[in-house]
């Protein structure tokens, strides 16, 4: 505990300097793209994955999103960068899925020989397999509900934020979210019926 006292509780750790906004005339600055990448690359990357872009293709897709953003940098409103990037990601993911679909059709069923994406539920602690199952379930949701579901359940946005992100009426967001949640919950339940998930044993 003496060491702890020496360690102390440095108050300045908690006092971040106030955020500095980009100057308004800086919207086309290359630094802005860098800043956007720093802040949002992981978000874009993850969104693309959940929107159905395969693991090997997701880096390229992420770059594609930022290249589009770079071309349109001046048009992206300050503070709306994340929303803009998500919108591009939805389109890029849709294209990527179509391309993948075409490739699968061209190649017959050969590419579908991947292992069952719905593994036994007791393996689900394995994050990779869990993600594969999650993505499969999300992919089965209706197209228009998918982005709403991802932004609400995984990214934690509010419904009002989602309405602004996707340029939708609040009621539309609500109904899409409801449909997506119902669909998702039913699919998970079906999965559990197929192979009941053993809950970890409780410790007394």
């Amino acid at each position: 505990m003496i060491k702890l006292a020496r360690f102390g509780h440095p108050p300045d750790v908690l006092a971040l300097p106030a955020p500095v906004a980009l100057p308004a005339d800086d919207v086309s600055s290359p630094d802005r793209l860098t800043a956007m990448f720093e802040e949002h690359a992981a978000f874009v990357w993850r969104s693309l994955r959940r929107l159905g872009v395969s693991e090997p293709a997701v880096d390229d897709a992420t770059q594609e999103v930022f290249l589009v953003a770079n071309r349109r940098l001046a048009e992206i409103q300050l503070g709306k960068e994340r929303a803009y990037l998500f919108g591009v990601a939805v389109r890029v993911a849709s294209d990527a899925r179509r391309r993948a679909q075409r490739r699968r059709e061209d190649a017959g069923d050969a590419l579908d020989a991947a292992p069952d994406p719905r593994p036994a539920t007791d393996d689900l602690l394995d994050q990779r397999r869990a993600r594969a199952v999650l993505d499969q379930l999300i992919a089965e949701l209706p197209d228009d509900t998918r982005p709403v579901f991802i932004l609400y359940e995984l990214e934690g946005l509010t419904m009002a934020e989602i309405a602004a992100y996707l340029d939708l009426a609040p009621g539309t967001v609500a109904s899409r979210l409801r449909r997506a949640r119902e669909g998702f919950t039913q699919k998970v339940a079906a999965l559990q019926r197929r192979q009941p998930a053993p809950l970890p044993p409780r410790k007394p």
């Binding site: 300045d12 990448f37 992981a42 993850r46 880096d59 770079n70 970890p200």
Partner: protein, 367 residues
């Protein structure tokens, strides 16, 4: 518009659904992939990208040296430089220069203290001992939590750079303290609105470490690359560093000719991000203590949103378990505790998790 309870926060939701969603929520690109993407976009140089790629894996080796240097420098930026430095003497001075310059831009006030805290090997080790004996205190002190978490929770590192960690088990205090901020920054989750400040700090850092002539070239080169739109052929992640066009090649040669190429962005961002993580979790902890369970849930959700795969994810999970016990949902709390203990059996936080979900609900820090 009434917001339904998010499935991840909903005690009624099936545990399978929550496990699946959590896995998806916590996914983030690895350090190497993020750097490769940035390089392909021309946001950083190919040389930096390559160096960073190896830094995440190779930096683990130089732990003692790095830790000593960093205590001197007192800045996360130093960390990243020195992990890849070939000889002790030269990088020391460069480190000091970089630290001075960046600090002079007043962008890293918080980063200083975190870096110094997390990388003092002695202190970290001692703290772990203390923490194991007194889990409640560990959680009560955010600075301590930072050190112990980076120290023993290898999950954060594994998530961003599995290869690096698995190659060098067992991971020691200095190892993780070194690797986590670097890998975290590159792979890492966005630190809200830090970008603009960091960008403005970067040229200063470059000048200090890369010497004046090349920094001029680099800054001139960056917009030029960005101006060339080649959107139809985004290069693949694996070969991204190589496929950046000619300017980057020249630049890469120029940079690699220097002893210690650096990107203060990465390290400063890492330290600041860690400070921001600590701040959020501290807020969540305070809300828990105050019995504001809904606000604590919102704060924890915000933590995961802003720092997916964050370095303090384990600490966040402990707080989530704590929250569940306070809501009375012991079943869910125990289930999450089991999962946590399976994943972090030797974490100092494990003792706290066991205490939280103990049959009598014994809790030292109850309000």
């Amino acid at each position: 518009m009434t917001e339904p309870v998010r499935l991840l926060d909903d005690p009624e939701a099936s545990s399978l659904a929550q496990d699946l969603l959590r896995a998806g929520r916590d996914e983030a690109p690895s350090a190497q992939r993020r750097v490769a993407m940035a390089a392909a976009l021309g946001l950083i140089s190919g040389a930096t990208a390559k160096a960073a790629g190896t830094a995440a894996a190779g930096g683990l080796g130089a732990k003692a040296f790095t830790a000593a240097l960093v205590v001197v420098a007192g800045l996360g930026g130093a960390l990243w430089l020195t992990t890849r430095a070939p000889a002790p003497a030269a990088p020391l001075s460069e480190t000091a220069t970089a630290a001075d310059t960046v600090t002079a831009t007043a962008t890293v006030a918080a980063a200083d203290s975190v870096a110094a805290t997390a990388t003092d090997t002695d202190t970290a080790t001692d703290t772990v001992t203390a923490t194991a004996a007194d889990p409640a205190t560990a959680a009560a002190d955010p600075a301590t939590a930072t050190a112990t978490d980076t120290d023993t929770d290898t999950a954060a590192v594994t998530d961003t750079d599995a290869a690096a960690v698995t190659a060098t088990a067992p991971v020691t205090a200095a190892d993780t303290a070194t690797a986590a901020p670097v890998a975290g920054a590159l792979a890492g989750a966005p630190a809200p609105r830090q970008g603009s400040r960091l960008s403005s700090a970067r040229p200063a850092g470059r000048t200090a470490t890369a010497n004046a002539p090349t920094s001029g070239e680099r800054d001139a080169a960056a917009p030029a690359r960005l101006a060339e739109p080649s959107p139809a052929t985004p290069s693949s992640g694996g070969s991204a560093a190589v496929s950046v066009p000619a300017i980057a090649g020249e630049e890469a040669a120029a940079i690699s000719a220097l002893a210690a190429p650096s990107d203060p962005w990465a390290s400063v961002a890492a330290s600041r991000r860690l400070a921001a993580e600590v701040k959020l979790l501290d807020a969540a902890r305070a809300e828990l203590r105050a019995g504001e369970l809904a606000r604590a849930a919102a704060t924890l959700a915000r933590y995961h949103r802003e720092f997916p795969g964050g370095e303090l994810a384990a600490e966040a999970e402990v707080l989530a378990i704590d929250r569940l016990t306070r809501t009375g949902d012991l079943a869910q709390a125990r289930r999450r505790a089991q999962t946590f203990l399976a994943g972090h059996p030797r974490s100092p936080l494990a003792a706290r998790v066991r205490a939280l979900t103990a049959p009598h609900g014994a809790r030292e820090d109850a309000p």
